[in-house]
Symmetry: C2
């Protein structure tokens, strides 16, 4: 028996998120089906975190154990040949038997993509949040300065999770306007040792209020200090969110 | 009665091309339906050229005549509110009564997008042609030098059209590798006074043979000189093709 560490990408549009559900199309479901056809899996597929319906991944980490002796390059080709065209296995590496994508993760990085052009770019309508008003990125940049570092992010956690602690450390937080094929995008990237439920989408929804000029750049820090989700902005929609990378000691 | 000059964009994925067809979803069909609801059209919608199934547009030109007296900004908002989310009206301007998007066109510009990464970028699978082998863009660049200018492009015309002449002038022809959000793209742009049926897709299919190293950079000029479509490369698939712009005297 071997344990594998996979890095996978998926377009979340047509999935009910990562986690297996009866009679729903999920990433875990299609990935496990592909493994069953070719590699004699001896465990479920475990992802570093469950992405919600509509959320995308460019570098999700997964562990799974298999009995097959196929080499990793052959496994990758065989999996990609069997997977639907909205999931791709980017790498397959041998891992220690104890490797676990949740427990061994030392952090994650997310990107959130906003299209703030007057009319939405059609080719990104599943891949970016369209906001009609042009955002003031300088004000958003000011706002995130007080959010980086170690804080209790309870004010940015959606209910429904049961965490021991709501303290997290944001190691990097960036917002920038960027040229894109058919216009411009506002890209928000955030890296932390871990994230609370909907934390990125709640941060983005709050920052967009600042970018729209409806709230001052000091407001997101007030929400942080108050630790009350009801004070924060809306939860940004899932289709602008990408899990970029999961970090491990290695 | 007024004649309007519209510039529209569409994602060709879910359309059976531009032209109205019974019981098929076409761009002309949905655009005329939107006009019928709000603007009392007195003519059909005419596009500068019929795009095929799957081909995209970032700047298609359309003329239509209407009885409504709504101002152009109101018309644009009302049309976009009624159009499905894969078509958008980018501009509406008043035109002379005789304006015709086909006859008055002085040229067009197309872009073709190729993803030549080892595994396809999932987020572009409807918007770029995935070619498994990394292309040699320098060789492709050499090849296009002898195609620019005025030539008889009969060798690059798919059958089924009945043109008076197959002579066209390529005013600009470029190929370049470009950074993209999740990797790289090979972008081919071509501007001409007019195009034959499938001309861009036949040129791209031929150039890709050069980029793959299967043919020398001199080969596309030989196909041109032979004027025989059977000698050229495959017709590149429609989903990498974008009508970028239509040019008019004005």
């Amino acid at each position: 028996m071997r344990t594998l560490h996979l890095t996978i990408a998926y377009d979340g549009t047509d999935f009910f998120g990562w986690q297996w559900q009866p009679a729903q199309r999920t990433v875990q479901g299609v990935l496990e089906s592909a493994f069953e056809k070719i590699a004699d899996p001896t465990s479920r597929a475990v992802a570093s975190g469950r992405t919600d319906t509509g959320v995308h991944a460019l570098g999700q980490a997964v562990n799974i154990s298999i009995a097959s002796r196929l080499d990793t390059a052959t496994l990758q080709r065989a999996l990609n040949a069997r997977l639907p065209d909205d999931v791709v296995v980017l790498s397959v590496v041998e891992a220690s038997d104890t490797f676990n994508a949740i427990d061994d993760s030392r952090g994650k990085r997310y990107r959130y993509v906003i299209d703030d052009s007057p009319w939405p770019d059609l080719f990104s309508r599943r891949y970016a949040w369209h906001v009609r008003q042009r955002l003031n990125v300088d004000e958003m940049h000011l706002a995130i300065q007080s959010l980086a570092g170690q804080h209790d992010f309870k004010g940015y956690e959606s209910s429904g999770s049961q965490r021991v602690t709501t303290v997290r450390t944001i190691r990097e937080f960036q917002v920038a306007r960027s040229e894109y094929q058919n216009g411009e995008r506002v890209l928000i990237e955030v890296e932390a040792d871990g994230f609370l439920y909907n934390m990125v989408r709640n941060l983005v929804g709050t920052l967009v209020e600042v970018g729209r000029g409806k709230r001052p750049p000091t407001w997101p820090a007030e929400v942080l200090a108050a630790k009350d989700r009801r004070l924060a902005g809306m939860t940004a929609p899932p289709h602008g969110l990408y899990l970029l990378q999961v970090y491990f000691d290695e």
